[in-house]
């Protein structure tokens, strides 16, 4: 098979000088459009600019001052809040999802289809639409009567109900061979041991997918933290960016420094776990 038929356009096989120049120009343009703004963000974060309106593309006077000012404005605390929310939120989400996945994939019981359909149905329910009633419920949880508004817990606990992760775990756990489980059962292992020692260790790829997806989803969240936080002490970093901007003394350099801190964790998660990420994206979307 020739390289020309290895892809739809077969651009890898284009070797003529004119073709090479055209490819170079195209790819540079693509890079400029999609990565260029992020490069400007990076440069501006480390650059001292007096102009309050513009971003820097060339580092004319390199400095770390922007980060210093950002931390003076409380970015350290916002970052800590973000990490607390993503840490506990992801932990809760993963634990809840693997437990539910085990029951749905390995057990047969009455109303199973009903439970599965009910969970799946929430995939079609955008969280934005539930935002207002959700905030009312968080202010007075039925039965237990707790008020989670104004606390990080109010941003963390709702993250546990995440259908995508349950779906991924259920699909994956179904494929673990029955024989392994039965052998363990004959040896007298109970459900908890089978779950923890047989099934879970086989699910590392799926755990990678729900881990990296959950992380970027939680880190990107905006509306839920916006509804739950009542004052700056519970702002996550993405929320705080807007309040930084309102202060007119804050230069774009400072906002970009805070933005850089806000984007690094999710970009790093993507770059380190790229394979899990792409796999989850493709499977999640193509199953749709």
């Amino acid at each position: 098979m020739t390289a020309a038929n290895d892809s739809a356009l077969g651009l890898d096989a284009v070797k003529s000088p004119g073709g090479r120049i055209l490819k170079f120009v195209l790819y540079t343009l693509l890079l400029l459009v999609f990565a260029g703004p992020l490069l400007a963000l990076l440069v501006s974060a480390f650059n001292n600019v007096s102009d309050p309106t513009a971003l820097s593309v060339v580092p004319s006077s390199p400095t770390l001052d922007n980060f210093g000012i950002a931390f003076d404005l409380g970015v350290g605390m916002y970052l800590l809040n973000s990490f607390l929310v993503v840490g506990f939120g992801l932990l809760l989400q993963v634990v809840v999802s693997v437990l539910a996945g085990y029951a749905l994939a390995r057990k047969k019981f009455r109303f199973m289809t009903f439970v599965l359909v009910a969970i799946l149905a929430t995939l079609m329910l955008p969280e934005e639409i539930l935002a207002i009633p959700l905030s009312l419920i968080l202010s007075d949880l039925p039965v237990v009567h707790l008020n989670l508004i104004g606390s990080l817990a109010g941003m963390i606990v709702p993250l546990g109900a995440w259908a995508f992760s349950i779906l991924v775990m259920t699909e994956f756990m179904k494929d673990v061979p029955r024989e392994l489980e039965e052998a363990a059962r004959i040896d007298g292992a109970g459900d908890l041991r089978i779950f923890a020692q047989i099934i879970l260790p086989m699910c590392k790829p799926a755990l990678g997918v729900i881990g990296v997806f959950g992380f970027t989803m939680i880190w990107d969240q905006y509306l839920l933290p916006l509804l739950v936080s009542t004052d700056a002490s519970t702002y996550t970093l993405p929320l705080a960016l807007r309040t930084l901007r309102i202060d007119t003394n804050v230069t774009p350099g400072v906002i970009m420094a805070a933005s850089l801190l806000a984007l690094l964790p999710s970009v790093a998660a993507f770059l380190f776990f790229q394979r899990s990420f792409v796999r989850g994206l493709a499977s999640g979307a193509l199953k749709g």
């Binding site: 077969g10 890898d12 693509l30 019981f109 955008p126 207002i132 009633p133 059962r185 459900d191 993405p238």
Partner: protein, 318 residues
């Protein structure tokens, strides 16, 4: 349903020959498999959280949409009045119109550019892998950062970043998000910047599934690059198109954060969308019932759209 029930039995009947007698085994398994409530124990955390944070909010949204919600005074049942308000309200009409424009603009723009990106960057070389990762970065940048970054890039004076680029080709300066004439386009462009690389990744997954032999055959038949795309690639991506369409359209209908941060509906309400209006009604003006009615209508629109595309797909597959 009956077929599903018959299957495990049939499998079970095959097996015991290699192991032990069927009857005792069946009983042993049901003993050992734990009590009837074992699965419910594993499901309990999920069920509690789903009830609290998905199902109760949903029921609340529906009941609230039929009520005049008054904290501390008790809610009044008002029937369809909130829906009447929403459907008759000028502000809602334009918000729905803006939402549809943004949804269509971002969906079409992201899909066209995403497909172009995927076609241009499909391949195995190291360089292409690097290019794909770089182009994908906007997707994993938090939406709040995207909005702040583009706000600065859209600065309306001549030395704003995009205006100085426009200046190079003799255009501008444009007011971008600060001008009611260009604010919608600006919001859509920002959405496409983040949406196109996402679509690209899904298209790439679809492209990888196309039989290379078909390209080979097309080449042998002397088909041009353009005809290969038209007759082999695009038909092979059909299911990807419909999935992306649903995903992007839902994403478009629920658009909130980027509008909230870029323009907050302004200038002059020129970018007010359904969700920013619902947010304002619900949380700033405390008209929770009307906001809930708007949210329920938005949900119904999403549902109808999803089902419509599903039916369309079924019919085509059948």
């Amino acid at each position: 349903m009956t077929v599903d029930h018959a299957k495990p039995a049939a499998v079970g009947a095959d097996r015991p020959a290699t192991e032990r007698a069927p009857a005792p085994k069946a009983r042993r398994r049901s003993d050992r498999d734990g009590k009837w409530w074992t699965p419910w124990l594993f499901l309990a955390p999920a069920l509690i959280l789903f009830v609290y944070f998905k199902f109760i909010p949903m029921i609340t949204a529906v009941t609230m949409s039929f009520q005049d919600v008054q904290p501390y005074l008790g809610n009044q049942w008002v029937g369809g009045q909130n829906y009447g308000t929403v459907l008759g309200d000028e502000a809602f009409h334009s918000a729905i119109w803006h939402t549809v424009i943004i949804a269509v603009g971002q969906t079409v723009g992201s899909m066209v550019i995403g497909l172009a990106l995927a076609l241009l960057m499909e391949g195995q070389s190291k360089r292409l892998k690097f290019l794909r990762s770089a182009a994908f970065l906007p997707v994993v940048v938090p939406i709040a950062v995207v909005a702040e970054l583009w706000r600065i890039m859209y600065h309306p004076t001549e030395d704003g970043m995009l205006n100085s680029i426009l200046g190079l080709v003799g255009l501008g300066p444009s007011g971008f998000i600060n001008d009611p004439d260009t604010s919608m386009v600006s919001v859509i462009v920002t959405g496409i910047w983040r949406g196109a690389p996402y679509d690209m990744m899904i298209f790439l997954a679809g492209l990888a599934g196309i039989d290379r032999g078909l390209y080979e055959a097309a080449t042998v038949d002397g088909a041009s690059r353009w005809r290969k795309i038209l007759h082999v690639t695009l038909p092979g991506l059909r299911s990807v198109f419909s999935i992306l369409f649903v995903l992007a359209a839902i994403r478009g209908l629920r658009v909130f954060t980027e509008v909230f941060l870029l323009t907050n509906g302004g200038p002059n309400g020129s970018t007010e969308v359904a969700m920013t209006l619902i947010y304002k009604l619900g949380l700033e003006q405390n008209r929770l019932g009307v906001g809930a009615a708007g949210a329920v209508l938005l949900f119904l629109a999403t549902l109808v759209l999803t089902l419509f595309v599903q039916v369309l797909r079924r019919r085509r597959d059948a």
